[in-house]
């Protein structure tokens, strides 16, 4: 397939899960095995297609859109059906196909209560189209549709297969994101009318000279900021996240952490920054401060958790803080680090949620006090995996978590757009506090490991029969475990792909 002409591949990749979901409706409801296998097949084929696409991608021109489709769509409002993929989108798009495949494999063994695999997996496929679409849509309307499309299946996943407080969590998740997206839509409209281009096209709008006055940019940016910041989530808009994660079924959490949160940061980088550079420049210090508050605050909250899944959820607040710090740096290194942090967080935290899910399958509790330690003795392989991924999450160099965090701090020392001159001291302070956040992160992960992994099993569990890592879990997890190491040892895998695209992006911002 030729990346210059084969726009159909991208459409096929987006359509496959949808078609799969439709075909799944035809399967008999009771034949659970066949439904599960079918989901693996669909996500597998879709992944194979995206893997082939990744192989065919022209890395020499990663700064340009490839596999483009750009046709008229809703003429009445000038919306176009514009799809494409560049170096910034590719890693995220890839992740959107890897994680559902692994989730489908995992679900063949662990289907959350109350069963109903057809509905569950169908929703997952629907979700996949939505989230993958956001990363390749280059029309604001199209982006918005994908953005909203993601909400519905996730809402059901939490609401129907979730934990005891699923109703509260799902409605909160839904309404909160919807609330933000409305401001985002208003900003999209404002940009559309203000630009005078009569276009929703992200590329065109990015390349346009400064849209409106600085005041306009500031207000328009505020709208987008609300939409994306809630999605990320940035402090103080994060409170939906721990609830959603705690209640969501394992696969829901994996996809939520692994891909959904990235839509927010991606939106900042792809839409808010290049279209409204003036607003972004004024907002950057605010974003930086909120990001660092998020880092420190998220880590502190983690220290207070006893539910291991809630702990991981709060850790996302801290990690996404690093991503936002990279964005606040407003330079190439910062955007690079933010995007790397995105991928690394998706892989690592996705894996952590898998582990938390399997922990619950075994112990039927996620309370660290009830588990009470000794997991390394009781289920040693599982314990080793938990240690490995936790250590990656706390940002050990050589594993995936390090480069995004370090890169964000490094970039923030000399922020772009003249921010270094005006806010040099502030940004230095941000770097210092972010670095302190890494100590707190190490602290809560080490204490978590101490509480569940180390020591001897308590009486309650000493005699219990617990499975170590199952074969199906190995299959579902190995790709992530390998990625955690591979991204750590070869950061070029992501940095290299993004480099040219980030340069182009910064050029459109005039930086």
């Amino acid at each position: 397939m030729d990346p210059n002409t084969a726009g159909w591949v991208l459409i096929a990749a987006l359509a496959l899960p949808l078609v799969g979901a439709a075909l799944m409706l035809l399967l008999p409801k009771d034949d659970e095995v066949r439904i599960k296998r079918f989901a693996v097949l669909v996500t597998g084929v879709a992944f194979a297609l995206v893997a082939a696409m990744t192989a065919a991608f022209d890395y020499g021109r990663s700064g340009e859109l490839q596999f483009v489709t750009d046709v008229a769509w809703i003429d009445a409002i000038n919306a176009r059906f514009h799809l494409g993929i560049d170096g910034i989108s590719l890693p995220l798009f890839f992740l959107s196909y890897l994680l559902p495949l692994l989730s489908a494999i995992y679900t063949t063994k662990h289907l959350p209560e109350p069963g109903k695999p057809k509905a569950f997996l169908g929703l997952m496929l629907l979700l996949q189209t939505g989230m993958a679409g956001t990363f390749v849509a280059f029309d604001l309307i199209l982006f918005f549709i994908f953005f909203e499309l993601v909400l519905v299946p996730m809402f059901f996943m939490i609401g129907m297969w979730g934990g005891p407080r699923r109703d509260y969590a799902s409605v909160k998740f839904f309404l909160y994101t919807l609330f933000g997206s409305i401001f985002m839509l208003v900003s999209f409209l404002a940009v559309y009318f203000q630009s005078g281009l009569r276009s929703w096209d992200i590329v065109e709008l990015s390349n346009a000279s400064m849209i409106g006055s600085t005041t306009f940019q500031t207000w328009a940016f505020l709208g987008m900021f609300l939409g994306f910041a809630i999605k990320v989530p940035m402090w103080p808009f994060h409170t939906w996240l721990p609830d959603a994660h705690t209640e969501a079924p394992t696969v829901g959490s994996v996809l939520l952490a692994g891909v959904l949160l990235k839509i927010g940061t991606y939106g900042f980088i792809r839409i808010a920054l290049p279209i409204l550079p003036g607003g972004a420049e004024r907002f950057a210090p605010v974003i930086g401060v909120l990001a660092v508050i998020g880092i420190i605050y998220g880590s502190l909250c983690c220290l207070a958790q006893t539910d291991i899944k809630r702990l991981i959820a709060f850790s996302s607040v801290g990690h996404m803080g690093f991503v936002m710090l990279g964005i606040a740096a407003m330079n190439e290194a910062g955007i690079q680090a933010a995007l790397f942090g995105n991928i690394a967080h998706g892989v690592i935290t996705g894996m952590l949620f898998f582990l938390a899910g399997s922990l619950h399958e075994r112990y039927h509790t996620r309370d660290m006090h009830v588990i009470g330690g000794g997991m390394l003795m009781k289920i040693p392989r599982y314990g080793v995996l938990l240690t490995y991924v936790a250590v990656a999450s706390l940002g050990l160099p050589g594993l995936a978590g390090f480069w995004g965090e370090f890169g964000a701090m490094w970039a923030a020392i000399s922020p772009g757009f003249g921010l270094a001159d005006r806010y040099g001291g502030l940004y230095l302070a941000l770097v210092v506090f972010a670095a302190i956040g890494t100590v707190l992160t190490a602290g809560y992960f080490l204490w978590m490991l101490q509480r569940v992994n180390l020591g001897r099993p308590t009486e309650k569990w000493a005699g219990a029969e617990l499975d170590d890592v199952l074969r199906i879990e190995w299959v579902a997890w190995t790709p992530l475990l390998v990625l955690v190491l591979a991204l750590g040892v070869f950061p070029r895998l992501v940095f290299g792909v993004q480099d040219a695209a980030v340069s182009v992006l910064l050029r459109t911002m005039g930086g």
Binding site: I77, C301, A435, T438, F490
Partner: protein
């Protein structure tokens, strides 16, 4: 740079690569092999040692000391900046290679017997290899960021090995303490590296590169604030890693790990990292009088007060741990008073005798099943090899004339003396406090020596209140009488003893001609760089140029020379300290240990100056227990309260709209209309069913309607 570097120097990357490979192989296949993986570890480390020796010889004998650098682009970082993966081989690298691989080899040989029968024997060997790799990776780095990677990996491996016996909570706590304390210092290291690299923006695409940073600093291209801030922050990392006060608190607790690991940590693969990094960046920090003064002061405080703590210890490993802190203080202080060569020379010799002492202590612990010197006594009769090797190690640590420790410690004192000639008070402090601490060192080592090897054998009390219970479990039951360890333990001791006697000669007055230690570890930059603040001082103050001021404005002091006066003082100090110890402990353990009868001083020392307690009470507890609770409460009550408030307000508004506006005003007016109140309320109740499917259905329908309306209107 170097013209046609020899093949061994070009192959230097194999030195770290082999232990990494071995770690992976042991983890994969170790369990199935006859020696449970130890053979892979030994083969790899022996190969690394051989190569290191060849590189050491090559760099030692080469006349041209220019470093060899080779690197490739590891990854772009954005903005055109590139992170390199590279190697920088000069005398300093070669010296560290030799030290690390040699001590690692000794530890691995020794561990086969010492750790025999341990449940996690294979894991242990894999970790040893990984630990060695991490340190070598740090040492070979050609840039600060790569060094950070190695540095953090060293920290992780030490965490895993200190917590090797993770069944016990105290060991878990020790491992956490080590990791978190050093991680705290890493805040400084990381921000320092970032600040330093930011100074290089605009000068190069590879802002982390060591040599480029050094050149820029020497050429005055880095601003003073960059150098001062960057180096002070990096020094904070060194303070925690190299056990300087007040971040030394993790080091004594790190004794929770197996004893050979302690040897590794203390001699080669962990605490030396900080001093190494300071040496690597020496020409940069030499640009600032402030930075050097801070380093010197921290070092002086540590070398004296760290050593005092050893006086009241009963646990042999703790005595050695505090002696390490004190000796690291010497090294750091030397850096602060321009003793570049002296500092790394002491690092070099200390590695050998400290490894020897720890491995010797392990041999003793192995025999008596206790860490406590009060449980030993008379050991020279049972363990003659351990006795004489431990004696050599103690003499070297105490700086007895002609041992390795003597030459290196004297270098430091002389460096202090020369610094004092420039009118800098820190030099004087290093000289006199260094001498006083030498007295303390000799005294506590003599105390331990008398109590361990002389008098009657006391034996461990029967209820076994010792810390290191695992060794006993591994080796099964009590022995009636202690006996000498096997050859895999004693041979490493003997090799290290020989080195503790001879390794100092290459930096001694016997080595006036090149090549000697100074020529080995210097580079053209080190040779040419002068302290700018000294030159200023000279021209502004006294009116003589830096050149006339003589060699003191230069980093190198020239070949070592005899200092008969210092020799006499050192002998006097040694004699006095040993004599005092003999008076107290020469006839075995006194009823009341005078060290524990010093009233307030004893109390202060036993409480470790209150640092551990304060750190726990004023840092760990507030953050872990209190601040985290506040944060959670803010999250749940304030922020989420606001969110809930918005929700409630909206609901109430809807209610009001419905009851007040809709029911009374509109519905009251339009009575009998098609849409009655009952009809609405039935509909509304259905919407509030809590059935999520229905919510979503309504939403999708709404979106579709909106889109349709939008299209229709246009």
């Amino acid at each position: 740079m170097m013209t046609d570097p020899s093949l061994v120097v070009q192959a230097a990357w194999l030195v770290p690569a082999l232990p990494l490979l071995s770690a992976a192989l042991i983890a994969a296949f170790g369990r199935r092999l006859p020696w449970h993986g130890a053979e892979i570890g030994l083969l790899a480390i022996l190969a690394s040692l051989g190569l290191s020796a060849a590189i050491a010889w090559e760099t030692f004998t080469t006349v041209d000391p220019a470093p060899y650098e080779a690197a490739f682009a590891w990854s772009p970082l954005g903005g055109g900046f590139v992170l390199e993966l590279g190697m920088l081989v000069d005398g300093l690298t070669a010296m560290m290679f030799l030290l690390v691989t040699l001590v690692s080899t000794m530890v691995q040989v020794y561990s086969r017997e010492y750790m025999h029968g341990e449940a996690r024997f294979t894991y242990y060997y894999a970790m040893l290899s990984l630990f060695t790799f991490s340190m070598l990776f740090l040492v070979i780095s050609n840039n600060t960021l790569q060094a950070v990677v190695g540095w953090e990996l060293v920290g992780l491996c030490s965490f895993l090995l200190i917590g090797f016996y993770w069944e016990e909570k105290s060991n878990q706590d020790a491992a956490n303490k080590a990791f978190l304390t050093t991680k705290f210092g890493d805040v400084g290291l990381i921000v320092g590296v970032i600040v330093l690299s930011a100074g290089m923006f605009g000068l190069t695409d590879t802002p982390f590169n060591f040599l480029e940073t050094i050149d820029a600093a020497v050429a005055g291209q880095l601003s003073t604030s960059t150098i001062v801030l960057g180096m002070l922050l990096i020094f904070l990392g060194c303070v925690s890693k190299s056990g300087q006060m007040p971040l030394h608190v993790w080091l004594p607790d790190a004794m929770a790990g197996p004893t050979p690991v302690s040897a590794l940590i203390h001699a080669a693969t962990m605490v030396t990292a900080g001093v190494f990094l300071l040496a690597r960046l020496f020409p940069v920090l030499a640009q600032s009088a402030t930075v050097m003064a801070v380093i010197a002061v921290v070092g002086v405080i540590t070398l004296f007060f760290g050593g005092l703590l050893a006086l009241v210890q009963d646990d042999i490993k703790k005595i050695l741990a505090y002696s390490t802190i004190s000796q690291l203080g010497y090294m750091v202080a030397a850096i602060g008073v321009g003793g570049y060569t002296a500092s790394i020379f002491h690092l070099f010799t200390h590695g050998f005798f400290k490894a020897l002492l720890f491995l010797g202590a392990g041999s003793l612990i192995h025999a008596v099943h206790s860490n406590n010197i009060s449980a030993m006594g008379g050991m020279r009769r049972f363990m003659p090899h351990t006795f004489w090797t431990f004696t050599v190690g103690s003499l070297a640590l105490a700086g007895f004339p002609l041992t390795a420790g003597f030459f290196s410690k004297d270098e430091i004192l002389i460096a202090g003396d020369l610094w004092a000639l420039n009118g800098l008070a820190t030099g004087t402090a290093v000289y006199w406090v260094g001498l006083a601490a030498a007295f303390v060192t000799t005294f506590y080592m003599a105390r331990a020596w008398f109590l361990i090897f002389f008098g009657e054998h006391r034996g461990a009390p029967h209820d076994d209140t010792h810390d290191d219970g695992h060794d006993e479990v591994a080796h099964g039951g009590h022995h009636a009488e202690p006996h000498e360890s096997g050859r895999q333990i004693t041979v490493p001791l003997m090799i290290l003893a020989v080195l503790s006697l001879t390794a100092g000669l290459i930096g001694s007055p016997f080595a006036q001609e090149r090549p000697n230690f100074e020529s080995w570890t210097s580079t053209p930059v080190i040779e040419e760089t002068t302290y700018p603040f000294l030159a200023e001082f000279a021209t502004a103050g006294v009116g003589v140029s830096a050149a006339e001021k003589g060699p003191s404005a230069k980093i190198l002091h020239g070949p070592p020379s005899w200092h008969p006066d210092l020799l006499l003082i050192v002998l006097g100090v040694f004699g006095g300290a040993v004599g005092l110890a003999w008076r107290f402990y020469g006839r075995g353990l006194p009823e009341r240990d005078p060290m524990l009868q010093m009233g307030g001083l004893t109390r202060v020392l036993v409480n470790k100056y209150g640092f551990d307690d304060a750190g726990y009470r004023y840092v760990v507890v507030p953050v872990r227990d209190r601040m985290s609770a506040w944060a959670t409460r803010i999250s749940n009550d304030v922020i989420d309260g606001a969110v809930a408030g918005v929700g409630t307000a909206t609901k109430r508004m809807a209610q009001t709209t419905y009851t007040a506006v809709d029911q009374r005003i509109i519905d009251g007016g339009v009575n009998g209309a098609a849409f009655s109140a009952a009809w609405w309320s039935a509909r509304l109740r259905r919407i509030q069913s809590g059935d999520v499917q229905r919510y979503a259905g309504a939403l999708v329908a709404g979106v579709i309607l909106l889109v349709l309306a939008f299209v229709a209107v246009r």
